[in-house]
């Protein structure tokens, strides 16, 4: 295992190096640079433009720029933003990360869960009406024109029915007097969610362990879980954060809904396929022969082993959505990494754009890594030895 991990790590770093280099030169190859904004105002003398070039180090040769960039990169600095000179790119990204993270984590987990359940069901009912219906509907959403769908959803639920807040991720009227920043709240939300998740996992692990937990232990589990959630909420309330968390949640619903609509089909179809393979396994037949109830055979035998590939897909999609949210974030006025990347590109802010892309790259690499480990955890058959390409 260790040898595997190290081998993999080496690979990761090499890949990252090449990736960043590619991104960097790609950006440099683009026409125009930030100083072109001075062209919009004739009163700005040429001298000023030269000065700016000097400040941003654009007067140096491309390779000098590249090397200094790389040097910084491995010191963990992503350079200084042009459009927000002299603000470090890292700070800007860190400021955006929590929002993007919370939104897409929620959306991905939800759409994954729905996709997983649906896929399970339609694979089990394969060939029946529900199978076709779900597949067709799923594909239609999967291939729906996303920006349009987003607009329609907003128009329908927020504008026409007035059910949910229009856009943005918080309501300024509430927040204008907020004692803390949105990012603090996001941070607390993440940690809170984590606590609840882990808590519930442990509860279900210890109390609902085994195959047929007694009613008593189930009641315990439930009440404990509920208590945990309540506790977390109370803490939030004591901090005076509850209302703000609530506000953010309200604003999250629409984007999450849209993302889920778009994405659930991916998991669903993947789940369906991999489950169609597992249902033909002998142990599924054996399980039925054992006289296990239908849903047990489905969930614990067919689905459980079919889960593996879909989990990897979840991890990867999570990572890629760290920047894939460009459309969502623009449509829902949800300023995150994606939007930053877009505006950076539009304003020729190479360091920021490069930084954002590199950042995603790192995220994805880590995700791949985690995915492999997860695989090993979920499937007892896999044990990692020297060779790395699994």
């Amino acid at each position: 295992m260790r040898r595997y991990v190290f081998g993999r790590l080496g690979q990761v770093i090499l890949t990252l190096l090449i990736y960043v280099t590619l991104v960097y030169f790609l950006m440099q190859a683009m026409p125009g640079d930030i100083t072109m904004m001075y062209l919009s105002n004739p009163k700005i003398p040429q001298a000023a433009r030269e000065e700016l070039r000097k400040q941003l180090g654009l007067d140096q040769s491309l390779f000098m720029q590249y090397f200094s960039y790389m040097k910084n990169f491995f010191r963990g600095e992503l350079g200084v933003s042009f459009s927000q000179y002299p603000k470090p790119v890292w700070d800007i990204l860190m400021e955006k990360l929590p929002r993007t993270f919370v939104l897409f984590l929620t959306a991905n987990v939800l759409s994954f869960y729905i996709g997983f359940v649906l896929g399970k069901v339609i694979a089990w009912r394969r060939g029946r009406a529900i199978d076709y219906a779900a597949t067709v509907v799923g594909i239609t959403f999967w291939t729906a024109f996303y920006p349009l769908l987003a607009l329609v959803v907003i128009w329908l639920f927020a504008y026409n029915l007035k059910w949910l807040p229009l856009n943005q991720f918080i309501d300024p009227r509430l927040w204008s007097t907020a004692p803390f920043t949105a990012n603090q709240v996001f941070g607390n939300m993440v940690s809170g969610a984590a606590i609840v998740a882990i808590g519930i996992f442990l509860i279900s692990y210890y109390l609902l362990r085994g195959l047929k937990p007694s009613r008593r232990s189930r009641v315990y589990a439930w009440s404990l879980a509920a208590a945990l959630v309540a506790a977390v909420l109370v803490i939030a309330a004591r901090k005076g954060m509850l209302i703000y968390i609530w506000d953010i949640t309200r604003h999250m619903i629409l984007p999450v809904l849209t993302l889920t609509l778009i994405n659930f089909a991916g998991t669903m179809l993947l789940m369906r396929d991999s489950m169609l393979e597992t249902v033909q396994e002998d142990y599924v037949l054996a399980a039925r022969a054992k006289g296990l109830p239908d849903h047990v055979v489905r969930d614990r035998y067919a689905a459980r082993t079919a889960l593996l590939p879909t989990v990897t897909s979840l991890v990867l999609s999570l990572a890629s959505s760290m920047s894939g949210g460009m459309v969502t974030e623009t449509m829902f006025s949800w300023p995150g990494l994606g939007q930053t990347l877009f505006t950076a590109a539009l304003s020729n802010d190479y360091p920021l754009a490069t930084g954002a892309l590199a950042f995603t790259g790192i995220f994805l690499l880590i995700a791949h890594f985690i995915a492999d480990i997860l695989y090993a955890v979920l499937d007892p058959r896999i044990t990692y030895t020297g060779q790395s390409d699994v």
């Binding site: 890949t15 090449i18 990736y19 590619l22 790609l26 950006m27 683009m30 026409p31 125009g32 394969r126 060939g127 076709y132 597949t135 067709v136 594909i139 239609t140 999967w142 291939t143 729906a144 024109f145 996303y146 920006p147 349009l148 607009l151 329609v152 128009w155 329908l156 179809l269 396929d273 169609l276 393979e277 033909q280 890629s320 760290m322 920047s323 894939g324 460009m326 459309v327 994606g338 990347l341 877009f342 590109a345 539009l346 020729n348 754009a353 892309l357 995603t360 790259g361 994805l364 690499l365 390409d389």
Partner: protein, 320 residues
């Protein structure tokens, strides 16, 4: 897999009729068999029907513009109808109405259909050709070539696709062909190589490959006439999926206005958007619904065909 195109039989070269004839027969039989299996999948058939429908629709464009429609009015790009205020709702003269600058929606829709086909198929073909070539080569030669291309694939997989294209687009507005090519190439060296390589690998270890090698077939010959035919069905499957992704990306990028394309479904929606009509969806439905639906159905069609092929390509998905 080799039940699909039983290539190993083609190894026996000493026969009366020329080899290519036999091969052709076999391929024909292979296709016929696959078609039989494919027909089983309703989803796939639905897709086929949709695609045909779109084909007809697109084919009507040149006919209409050369016969019925006056180019001055119905040209999808510079056409203009002075008769009404624009955007005008559906009417006898404009079945789907006109866009904010007085161009006929139906004409744009038809004109674009052809283009979308071109875009999708072109980029898909590029993807698959590259993917197949690289994949088989990597599988056949292994060693350096293998690792090299696999690393490339890894790296390309790191790129967030749409954002990257938007970034590039926002700096150089890509025009039609370059965009198709970029899509194709990125796709070709990306994930598909890995999949096709795996497939090719499973083939290249089959005994008849060694047989052919011993029989003194050149690497090229072996790859082309023994490995590739077995990889093709899978490639074809991924072709369908890459069509979908190409079209969707095009639409998204057009919507962001970062492509240099004179007309496409995405452009149609973009035009409505920048003119401020993508707002009251009920009132100005004809500005977004036709194009939006076209995009979805078109992509869905190819995706469904892909699903159908999936059942052909990997037997485990088939009904027993």
């Amino acid at each position: 897999m080799n039940e699909l195109v039983p290539t190993h039989e083609t190894g026996s070269a000493s026969l009366a009729e020329p080899l290519w004839k036999i091969r052709w027969k076999l391929i024909r039989r292979g296709i016929a068999q696959n078609w039989e299996i494919f027909k089983e999948s309703r989803i796939g058939m639905l897709g086929i029907i949709l695609i045909i429908a779109f084909g007809i629709f697109g084919a009507m464009w040149p006919i209409m513009i050369n016969t019925v429609w006056d180019p001055m009015v119905y040209d999808p790009v510079v056409g203009f109808d002075p008769m009404t205020m624009h955007p005008s709702p559906p009417s006898a003269t404009h079945l789907f109405g006109t866009d904010p600058i007085g161009r006929d929606i139906l004409a744009q829709l038809m004109y674009s259909t052809g283009r979308e086909f071109l875009l999708g198929v072109l980029s898909a073909v590029i993807t698959v050709v590259i993917g197949t070539a690289v994949g088989t080569a990597a599988a056949y030669y292994g060693g350096f070539i293998d690792t090299f291309f696999m690393r490339i694939a890894d790296i390309i997989l790191l790129f967030p696709f749409i954002p990257l294209l938007v970034v590039i687009g926002s700096m150089v507005r890509l025009s039609f062909l370059p965009f198709a090519v970029i899509m194709g190439v990125l796709g070709g060296f990306g994930g598909i190589t890995i999949i096709l390589k795996a497939q090719a690998l499973s083939v290249s270890v089959r005994p008849y490959i060694d047989a052919a090698r011993i029989a003194g077939g050149s690497d090229f010959h072996i790859i082309v006439s023994h490995i590739i035919p077995n990889v093709l069905p899978l490639s074809f499957l991924y072709m369908m999926f890459s069509v979908t992704s190409a079209i969707l990306s095009e639409a998204t990028l057009s919507f962001f206005g970062v492509l240099n394309i004179d007309m496409s479904w995405g452009m149609m929606i973009h035009t409505a958007d920048v003119a401020g009509y993508l707002f009251d969806f009920a009132k100005y439905w004809w500005l977004w619904a036709p194009a939006g639906l076209a995009i979805t159905l078109f992509c869905a069609a190819f995706y469904m065909v892909g699903r159908g092929l999936d059942e052909v390509v990997n037997p485990r998905l088939r009904k027993r």
